[in-house]
Amino acid sequence: MSLRHDLRVVRAVAAADIRLALREPLFVIIGVVIPINFLLLFLLFAISGGQAPIAVVMNDRGPLAERFVQGMDNSHSFVIHTASSADAEREIRAGSIVAVVTVPQDFDAALNARTRVDIPVEVNNLNVDFTNDIRRAVPLSITSFYADAFPEQVVVRALEADVQQHDTGYIPYLAVSIVVAGLMLASLLQGSVNAARDYELGTIKELALAPVSRLAIGLGKMLGSAALTVASALLVLGVVILLIGVHPLHPLEVLGFGLLMIAAFLALGVLAGTLVRRRQQAIPLAIASVLPLFFLSGPFGPATWLGAIPGAIAAVSPLTYAIAAFQHAFHGYQTATQDLTVDTMVLAGFALGAVALTALVYGRRGVSH
């Protein structure tokens, strides 16, 4: 046995897996449809939950009234459009908006006279999440507007000091987390499906009876899956960068951490596929593994914000370190207490461990004539 032969085997196994995958409709489903759907699904979830659509009826067009509406717009709590009273009423009845805020006719005059102004707010309290958003955000907008318009009368104000150099929008933050989850999902799916295929079709015997090391076969499997996963990853990154407009500050970090992640989760995928031996079981297993880990690894904010028990789980989840590393690669800041070196070491250690475990199990496990 020689290194040359091992390399020949790695290349041959990888090439065969790529050819086989490209000839199966399943590849398009697991390589394209599932990761992209995953990305879009969570983004839609974030977009729909982030800002409530409301209509503003402007019965006063004075400067203070305009400034008030501008203040509401700046609060990032609403998606605002102005409408006539009749249109706004029709929209809220149709369920296309959450609330109607009416600026009264004497708004400017009353404010200039320092008399009380009542702002009617009609809320569609069908969904308590949106309802509470409106209940919190409208009074906050009024307070902010008043402090801005009459600073001499509002003498208490918040002095903000920012930890990060720049703000990051919720969608860009979340998009990076979803990219990581998408990469994990694509890697697990490709690895597990490629490994399970040989058991399912009986071709595992051809591999198991060959005079080659399990490591060479396992590496070949991972290399083939990696090529397919990189194609999926480029697609997901393309959507994030070109369609959502989130650009990485450190592209090389995206590349490095991306490859590290793909190696780690591909190895786990091959291991899972070797154990379950059926593609039909491998696919839901991959999806079921990613979803809880995703939510427990700080996708919406740093994992340390999750609390004691979820935080402890997050601390041992490789996805936590991958998300932290990717947030740095895209936005240039640290979202976790550990630094990039720790992220790198954890991900590299996890990848090596997964590859070693997979090589140990893969190949002749339970193969029989």
Binding site: M1, H5, R8, V9, R11, A12, A16, R19, L20, R23, E24, L201, G202, T203, I204, K205, E206, L207, A208, L209, A210, P211, V212, S213, R364, V367, S368, H369
Partner: protein, 312 residues
């Protein structure tokens, strides 16, 4: 070079409390075609798994082509060609792609590989389908391609699992011819089969396994002879009564006598002298309508050794 291709020395294989192979010793000589027979669950798959290095014995020793299984299983696999029952071909790849993949796995030199693939495909009459996907092949073509693949790395020992399974008569005959040609070239061939005619045609020797033990080992003709040299099948009117069967069984040289409906099947050892006495005994008691004389079949030997109950 050792003259023994496969040597099992007191091999036992246990799975928990279940003993699949029980203190089995067996030698397969180089250049012979050896058939391993046994009912389902008899332990023959476990034996093959150990010979091909997919499993290790719980105790005892396995040597293949002079190499100790535990010491160097990879070297054994290099010299072993395998045609599994389900072919294990990549159906969505072409015939040629399957062969090239195998060549990579077995490190067949690239130089001369094209010519070798061509000559083997021509021998199997598959050259015209070289670029076709295996999924478009018939059962017989897949079997032949699996054999071509197993021979690509020029193995010293070929294991063929159920050669005739799922193939038509022409393909079966072609496969048998290829196997016999291999023997002529000095390749050792180990087959497992449930098709006893196949074992009879191909094998120099047969080993019959039952409940993990070797219950018979000899050439097909010797095995048949050990079960008596002649089988008489008679039809009588009226049907043979119990006293006739008892009378026949009591005759010297009668191995067995079984009545079923109006038929009586008698296996004898001792040739014409014994068969004459059997016929005389029968016609003294009943009217003989029809009689046939033949050699015992392997099926009868097999059932005689392993019983008739169904195995799972």
């Amino acid at each position: 070079m050792t003259e023994t291709a496969i040597e099992l020395i007191g091999v036992t294989k246990r799975f928990g409390s279940f003993t699949a192979v029980d203190d089995l010793s067996l030698r397969v000589e180089r250049g012979e075609i050896f058939g391993l027979l046994g009912p389902n669950g008899s332990g023959k798959t476990t034996i093959i798994n150990m010979i091909s290095g997919l499993s290790r014995p719980s105790s005892g020793g396995v040597r293949v082509l002079g190499i100790d299984l535990l010491a160097d299983p990879r070297r054994i696999r290099r010299s072993l060609g395998t045609v599994p029952q389900e072919n294990a071909l990549y159906e969505e790849l072409t015939a040629e792609a399957n062969l090239r993949f195998h060549a990579d796995l077995f490190d067949v030199p690239r130089q001369g590989l094209d010519e070798r693939i061509t000559s083997l495909l021509e021998l199997a009459q598959l050259e015209e389908r070289r670029k076709s996907r295996v999924s478009t092949f018939s059962g017989g073509m897949k079997r032949r391609l699996a054999l071509v693949r197993a021979l690509l790395h020029d193995p010293e020992l070929l294991y063929f699992d159920e050669p005739a399974l799922g193939v038509d008569v022409q393909s079966r005959r072609a496969l048998w011819d290829r196997i016999l040609e291999l023997k002529e070239r000095g390749t050792t061939v180990l087959i497992t089969t449930n098709y006893l005619e196949e074992a009879n045609v191909l094998c120099d020797r047969l080993g019959i396994i039952d409940r993990g033990r070797l219950v018979a080992l000899d050439s097909p003709s010797n095995l048949r002879r050990s079960f008596g040299d002649t089988v008489l099948e008679m039809r009588t009117r009226p049907a043979p009564a119990e006293d006739i069967v008892r009378k026949v069984r009591a005759l010297p040289g009668v191995v067995s006598a079984i009545a079923s409906g109006d038929s009586l099947k008698v296996t004898v050892e001792g040739g014409a002298a014994v068969t004459g006495k059997v016929v005389t005994a029968v016609v003294e008691s009943t009217s003989l309508e029809e009689i046939q004389s033949r050699e015992p079949s392997l099926d009868e030997v097999f059932l005689g050794l392993t019983g008739k109950e169904l195995r799972e």
